[in-house]
Symmetry: C2
Subunit: 202 residues, 2 copies
């Protein structure tokens, strides 16, 4: 549903543009447009400039495929390479979550997706040839696979594990089980089965 | 909470700018930024341009205070003036809702707020001197008050009604009652009391 023609044309254009943001429908876009025009003109100008600046200056790191600015990728530093650890995640948000929530300070590889042949996403789309080169370079001692525990994520993890094992690299998968603070009674059966089979000795 | 420093600076700036949109928190802003950079670069560029264009070209109508573009306000046309009706609403979204949902095609006056002395919003902030001029101009035969049925909205309606009555103009208030499709059993007592006292003869 496009906004009705009762708006002035430039307002229609702004509302349409705001609707391209994820999770923003016609009503939210209208509210955003009115809010920006009524009370946040400075914010709107800042947003416009930040968008252009980001588009023009944020690219992809050729090593880890994370978003990166001109001055070199902060996640591919020599210090991180020295850890010998490479953590594979599906997307930038996963990298940020690990970086913020854990003491992990090794390197990353961002797939920007997961294997999904039905959608035409194969190894090439995920940059796996580039990953192969890095594994062949010899500095990786542990491959940590942190794809999501979904069907595609698990299939991707299996594929990645084979890539590591074929080169004699130690491969690990992040643990899946009962979340901290969760209650067994309310955890789904699949998670509980994972938690039991993945039990660790104390 | 500002986004953590683990982002590249331009990404931080973009996420901060997106958070100024209403209803967008840190997680949503991050998701929006990643989405735009990953999959919607065209959309991001369009949004940036639409924002600038809107800021530079959308102003306020001097008559009705609605957003308006250079070519003159579509809601203040001579044809609408001829109806002799002036509908007063609190905000632009209210105007659009009436315009879209009803056959009303008279003129409007947008308060851009409601009387709220505690927040320093008095008659001047709502442009009521401008409204007085219009009422004095003589073309208004009916003043339709469509402020929201909240405490401030009702107080504003009372004030506006006095303005109209002092000039001998017919003043009406939109009806409040049981919403269409609603069930009496589930309607709150205040609405039900309004519906009963505002009953109309058949």
């Amino acid at each position: 549903m496009s906004p009705p023609s009762s708006y002035p044309p430039r307002l229609t254009r702004l509302i349409d543009a705001l609707r391209r943001l994820p999770g923003v429908g016609p009503k939210s876009a209208q509210r955003m447009a009115f809010h920006l025009l009524e009370r946040e003109r400075d914010g709107a100008r800042a947003l416009s400039a930040a968008l252009l600046d980001a588009l023009d200056n944020i690219g992809r790191c050729t090593q880890c495929r994370m978003f990166c600015e001109g001055e070199g990728c902060r996640y591919c530093s020599a210090a991180r390479t020295e850890t010998g650890q490479l953590c594979i995640v599906e997307g930038p948000a996963d990298l940020i979550a690990i970086e913020q929530g854990t003491p992990y300070r090794g390197r990353y590889f961002v797939l920007m997706g997961r294997l999904s042949p039905i959608d035409g996403i194969g190894p090439d789309e995920l940059g796996l040839p580039r990953l192969s080169e890095q594994l062949d370079a010899g500095w990786v001692r542990e491959l940590i696979i942190a794809t999501n525990p979904t069907v595609e994520g698990e299939a991707t993890a299996y594929y990645l594990a084979e890539m590591g094992k074929a080169r004699g690299i130690r491969v690990s998968r992040i643990a899946h089980g009962v979340p901290m603070g969760g209650e067994l009674e309310y955890v789904d059966a699949g998670t509980l089965a994972h938690a039991l089979s993945g039990r660790t000795s104390l």
